[in-house]
Symmetry: D2
Subunit: 364 residues, 4 copies
């Protein structure tokens, strides 16, 4: 399994940046789930470059659903989604000159020169559009079960958004935002930092924080398929994510057990925890609290500044100035991709635990 993820609900990705189309096949999703074209479109719109912080390459993302949907609902058989590539400019790339921190060189070492290198080929962030379209269907399936997912930019360019506080409501609020932050003034300050980086022919990264609310307790596995393990596996498939921390994350390193432990108590007959430092997961299994985690996003590797590198075809040192069209920061666009990947992963976890019909029958 290379481009397929999941056991009961599986997603398979395909496509290259400058090929005919990209797409995904989602298999194992229950029948009877509403496939909401408007939601798919609005999710794709969030991922699409826009405004002054992103690359000028804008695609229409005119997705087509080739199978698995009948009368507006999932049939239970594989859903194939295809998104044609339209706005491609292949002249901007010079094969052999490795863009630092990109996959040009590693692709060459893996594919021996047969890789479609144009625009990053199969490694391009473009392919995440297929994840987002697939994820939109999963998000809808989860919403019916009372499960919601939201991601905000926690920090970017030295500007910090506040962490989740009233997480149940905040995940819903975030779903409507093009620039997903919780504090009112974060958007402006972060945008400023991003624009400034672009002016300096540079790029920046940051951190994002995600919450999944409404998860039942008792989902996940003790060892290899811990919820942390499965989610991180999926998250690290997103280019640019280099760190995943659950709950308190980094903060655990300098806390005492007495501070870090989440005290249990009954609230309205339900077990809850005082704090949620463990991010909703104990021993790899959900405890019914929101799943929370942060991802570290590295600065976009494509920068306009001249960089030292190699030409791996001519086997010599080289210099590169990346022209093309690139984002000074992908962090805004990554948020919806993370939500999508989480939604697909959570659908898989639930289908494994409760059977494939859980999305029809509900959690009880």
């Amino acid at each position: 399994m290379k481009n397929t993820f999941g056991q009961s609900v599986c997603v398979t990705l395909f496509g290259e940046s400058h090929g005919d189309a990209i797409g995904a096949v989602i298999d194992g999703l229950a029948p009877g789930i509403d496939v909401d074209s408007e939601l798919i479109k609005s999710q794709l719109a969030k991922r699409r470059p826009s405004g002054k912080t992103d690359t000028p390459r804008v695609e229409n993302d005119n997705f087509q659903i080739l199978s698995g949907v009948f009368n507006g609902k999932t049939t239970g058989t594989p859903i194939a989604i295809v998104i044609p590539n339209e706005n491609t400019k292949s002249k901007d790339y010079n094969y052999g000159v490795a863009r630092p921190s990109h996959a040009d060189y590693t692709a060459y070492m893996k594919y021996h020169g047969y890789e479609d290198y144009r625009g990053g080929g199969h490694f391009s962030g473009r392919i995440t559009a297929a994840l987002v379209a697939s994820g939109a269907i999963a998000i809808n399936a989860l919403k019916k079960l009372g499960i919601n997912i939201g991601t905000h930019i926690l920090c970017c360019g030295g500007v910090y958004d506040r962490p989740f506080e009233d997480v149940e409501n905040e995940v819903l609020e975030l779903q409507g935002k093009a620039f997903p932050v919780l504090s009112e003034d974060s958007e402006e300050k972060m945008t400023e930092a991003i624009v400034k980086a672009r002016e300096q022919k540079d790029s920046i990264g940051g951190k994002i924080q995600t919450a999944i609310t409404g998860m039942p307790a008792g989902v996940g596995e003790p060892w290899f398929d811990s919820v942390e393990g499965v989610l991180s596996h999926a998250l690290f498939s997103i280019g640019g994510i280099k760190g995943v921390e659950f709950g308190l994350g980094d903060g655990f390193a300098n806390a005492f057990g007495s501070q870090a432990n989440d005290k249990f108590r009954y609230e309205n007959g339900k077990v809850v925890t005082e704090t949620n430092n463990n991010g909703g997961i104990n021993g790899g299994i959900t405890n019914g609290m929101p799943i929370t985690f942060t991802c570290t996003v590295k600065p976009t590797p494509s920068i306009a500044k001249e960089q030292d590198t190699v030409n791996f075809i001519d086997r010599e040192n080289a210099k590169i100035e990346i022209k093309g069209r690139h984002d000074p920061a992908i962090i805004r666009r990554v948020c919806v991709v993370v939500d999508s990947v989480c939604a697909l992963t959570v659908c898989d976890l639930l289908a494994q635990r409760y059977g494939t019909d859980v999305f029809l029958k509900g959690l009880n």
Copy 2:
């Protein structure tokens, strides 16, 4: 797949803390690998509690290899390793009263009261002994290919060890250390902090840093089976690990692209990078530089202080004072577990890429 990990080289775990035995089955490892009992013993010794920083529960770890080894070498068929439990005291546990940040409550929600709760049952850190024994065989297989793994405690109780500098040699040095740190004075200071935490009936966590040297370029997959994804999946199966960051990790959040990007250059005819901020992985695929990552380890949940919690059988709030025998910090003992999990995962990645005989035939 719940307690099985890997595609070509797979490990299956079993056992409970106070059951008859714990163990593992390793499948898919090439024939002809030396199975070095002394290495297995010394690795198990590193994981075993010892001295003043750990729990007084000490097991002999008299492992038995039931299959898959013939004349001191792997046969290529499944290797079953069993480690009997000897030093068990089951009276210390009070079923129904959930230990905060432990899996008692989540196990109950998953297994409906049928779980073997004694000593944490299947969720106990005790099971990692089976990972360590299995990993020792994998470590040996990798050593023949020139691949070495080492982990040190980067910080604990506010004491910081220095990060890797001369990583090729340092991973080898670490393999011989019972308390794996790079700076001379870290051990004493960290030990002090751990002992102090115990005296306060409390516990502490920290961060560890791992390097895998000698990896060939071109291993891993672009999307779901990125090296980051596969490694993190395996690492998060280790109880207590709540964050995994590759290369610069957290540091990416506030870096510019021009700082974070790793410049390529030729060195003795081989492509290397100036810095290794990406931790040896570009686009999910190894670039030939050492794979490096840090893991955040949460403070041991078991503390002697009284804590608020619930009794999920009586369905009421409760208080708990954890008696038993516990570590004030597991961070030292986690290092060898991380090495072991990495070794098994890297064996799997190599076998997928180069075929099952790679360990016999070598990388070239």
Copy 3:
């Protein structure tokens, strides 16, 4: 994994008979394999209905390769193939009246009425076109390694073709035949039997025999992934196949060990067997002789005769006369599907054993 098969080389299927398109994604195939459009077309032509023995529904099978192919060769990343449905007539189906021996009723029990029932939906033999297009790429990859696959109709309508004799050459001859039989007069007699069945508003089945030549010894696994197990798993995904027998198959039931055992001997320095009753597989692993097996194909369930059945929507007994356009025997068309499924499965077995680059580097 539901519509995905394989571990190292994987194929994912999608599509419904009367939807927009059907297709497949092949992942894990090595880079650098020639993608021969003419071969894909000629393989699809073999599967396509033609002449008097088949359904009058003829599709153009204008396949498109959306990804994974660059400059006429595989890139090593997922190959998405889409085949639009063109000649669809959806009026011929009456939902709720279960066609006997078809999947109408079982689909309803699985998908709860959300299934796309038109033309058999996802269960239609139409989807095998995607297997054939995918298989054509795999067949080409294997040919480079000296591995060839051929299938002939062993019996149909009481007419028997002779079994393989000079299998190395016969598999090559079969590759060029539209009606794949070994004896000269079998085609005419079988055609006669098929036409007669159609005239009687009935259908017939038969047996087919397949050989895979050029397989190296030492491929496969002792227990669950025996070559028999993996191949049969793939073969039984083809609708209509109800039996798979390796080597002597049925004939083993009444043979003595002394007759059934294949004597080994050296021939030109290579181990061969006198007979090949075991179909090239001992203990689940290839022995270097051709892999041979037969498949039993049931008569096409769609017949024009009136049949007793149920209406599972109205929950009452019913009668059905299947109009539509159907084959009186699918056995001719199944042969190329079997070759395709075998090719994909063998590619997977080889990639697992020898690594993903085996198709580039060769078997030695």
Copy 4:
């Protein structure tokens, strides 16, 4: 995955004929299932050689359950079962001289001489004892859901037992039989044939027929995970099985569609079929009728007659007279192994479809 089978309920096998022990790990089975030691013992007894038709090597099969069972019930975590090897005689084997139709030569080609060759090593039928012990737990889990499995010898040595007629009751009757046949006089006649084969220093095979009753409709998948595909995959892991046919099997080859199709009708408000030629499966998915299939078992390869073969170490032709202790027919002993493998596979299919708790909660 090599020695692991299943997705939601998985079994991992290990062990060699003359090693310390054989065993299995079953993972993913629901908590709360009764583990009945007496049933495990009686199932192992059925598999054990006995009387005049079998090998004189008799093992006590003193199985130990190391984990996953607490207070007599499954905990939901991995169940490790170990069966020590006791009665081993390793002198009877002469490494390098390949026993015809055995795995000696293929094991050498796969494991390069590192395999444990003693007594067939990992390829020995001895390992099926672990499948039988595991299967006994699965059989118990299914019984609670009203699902029963039974296998009888359909033919052996030219003697034919009658096929299933009153299958619901017959599967139960078979469970109590040491020599599983339906006709009264079959046992005596078959025994005679087997004894005669032994006297002639020869061996015989046969056919067995299996039924699984009580299966709900709607289980299985349309393409690659058809019930036929999944079951055959598991069945072909049993050494000696060379053919698997569902329902009418071979009989489909010469039937007309009008004869082969199973007419549906309502009976007491439930959909049933008149005949069950499809063996309870339409389009890969269960239709609620009993699943039925036959397996062809080849004659035991080990015969006392001198045979031509090769010595693959000396690389020359050779002769062999197999001394050791062997069965002239394994067909009686295979029946309980088939039941066990089916039970594990059906548990997996149900857990995938209805969730892991199905064995606790029941099918409705």
